[in-house]
Every structure is written in C-alpha cells, then in structure tokens.
Assembly symmetry: C2
Homo-oligomer: 109 residues x 2
Amino acid sequence: MKELCPRFEKAMQLFSKRWVGLILFELLEGPKRFSEMESELPVSGRLLSERLKMLEQEQIIERKVYSEFPVRIEYALTDKGKALDPVIKEIQSWSESWITKKEVENSNL
Amino acid sequence: MKELCPRFEKAMQLFSKRWVGLILFELLEGPKRFSEMESELPVSGRLLSERLKMLEQEQIIERKVYSEFPVRIEYALTDKGKALDPVIKEIQSWSESWITKKEVENSNL
DNA sequence: AGTTATAGTTACTTTTAGTAAGTAAAGTGT
DNA sequence: ACACTTTACTTACTAAAAGTAACTATAACT
C-alpha cells in the first residue's frame, strides 16, 4: 500500500466522521450552544457530545463555560477550525451546482 | 429541526462515507482500475466495490469495460466528479497547513 | 434542602465497516 | 473442448460505529 498523503488521510478521517461537516457548517455562523446544535441538526445528544469532544481534542473547536444561571456553554471554532471555511464553501458551491432537486428528495427515503 | 441546506446535507452524506474522499483523491490523478485502488488505499475489496457502485449511481464516476485479455475495467470521474477537484484541493491545503506531524503519527495507533 | 435548566451519559438495538475465503467471466494454452 | 489464468468482484461472518430513549450531573436560585 502506497503512502498517498498522510496529512490528507488524517483530514479525511476527521471529515468522514458523520455530522462533522454539518457541525462545522453551523459553527462557521458563529459560536453555538449544545442545545442549539442539537435542535438544528438531526443528530442525537450522544453523538453530538462525542463529536464535540473529538473536535475539541483536535483543536478545531473550543469549549467555553459561562457561569450564569443556568450555566451557558458555548462551542466556537479556533483558528484551525476557521481555516476550514474555504473547504465548507467549496462543498456548498459544488452541491449547489451538481446536486439536483430530485437527488435531495430521494435521499430522504 | 431547521432545514439548514438540503443540498449541502446531501453532499456531506456522500463525503462522510468512509473512503469516498480518498477514492476521489486517487481518481483526480486519472482513471484507475479496481486493483490499483485496492492496493493504493487501505480499503478492502468489499467496501471499494460498494463505494464505486454508489459513486457510479450518483454519477460522480463512470465504469468503463475494455475487452482485452485479461478484461480491463477502469473507473473515471465524470464532469460532476471532476468538479470536486477544488474541494479536494482545499482539504489538502488545509491539512498541509494545520495537521501536524505528531497528529499524523498518533492517528496510526 | 429542593427546584430548575442545560449539558451531557448510560444501556441497549440497529446499521455500517472489516476480514477472509470463495465465485464469475472471459481470453489462453494444450 | 476444457482446464488455466487473471481481474473483478461477492458472500458469510465478526467487529466497530451510529441511533434511540431514558437517565444523571452540575450549579445557580429559592
């Protein structure tokens, strides 16, 4: 097996985890709370928690605790995370050019 | 649950399937055969076959049969597939800027 | 101390991925 | 004609990841 490109492989390993793309899409709009993301995406608390933990470990997002009542916890992109903006934008652009209405409908069956 | 962007969600659904990114990376270099991809990527025949079938159905790749001895089958990107070049390039560029040597090493444990 | 609101976690089921061995098709050699 | 190659898959089985629903933790407020 050839080496291909270890950094690219590592990046794809992150991206090919379910929900990661959509979580990043959300966070590019600005910092969000757990419950916001949970309600805006069709992801369960269990997986959202798991992914946020992973993205924090990869230093792509940052978890900030605000001691209010009730406690507010916000997730925000780091510089490394913000640098993914062009990637998300390219995927968005591609999907608008090449994904047909029909395909979108059929994917929900 | 908000609608977000159905086309983007559909695109991420494709991308977040394991090996899809690496298969596209390979095919952007030019048409490839099954056995070539199998040996260049750490993917098993079963999944490679499944992914190629899926990508063909999505019209991202094309399967061409050449009646030689032994039979030669090539997979090539369609225009829709070639249009993913900027996406792959952006991921590559991000990974080169932000994935450290250490991260690459640790991901193989 | 008990209530409330957010942010998770746990235990369980279903789906997807990984592995290894086997089958299919079709041109070749005898 | 028929067994032999070579590539391209498929099948049966095991392991890992994702989905679901109910439950717990924390901490400020009353």
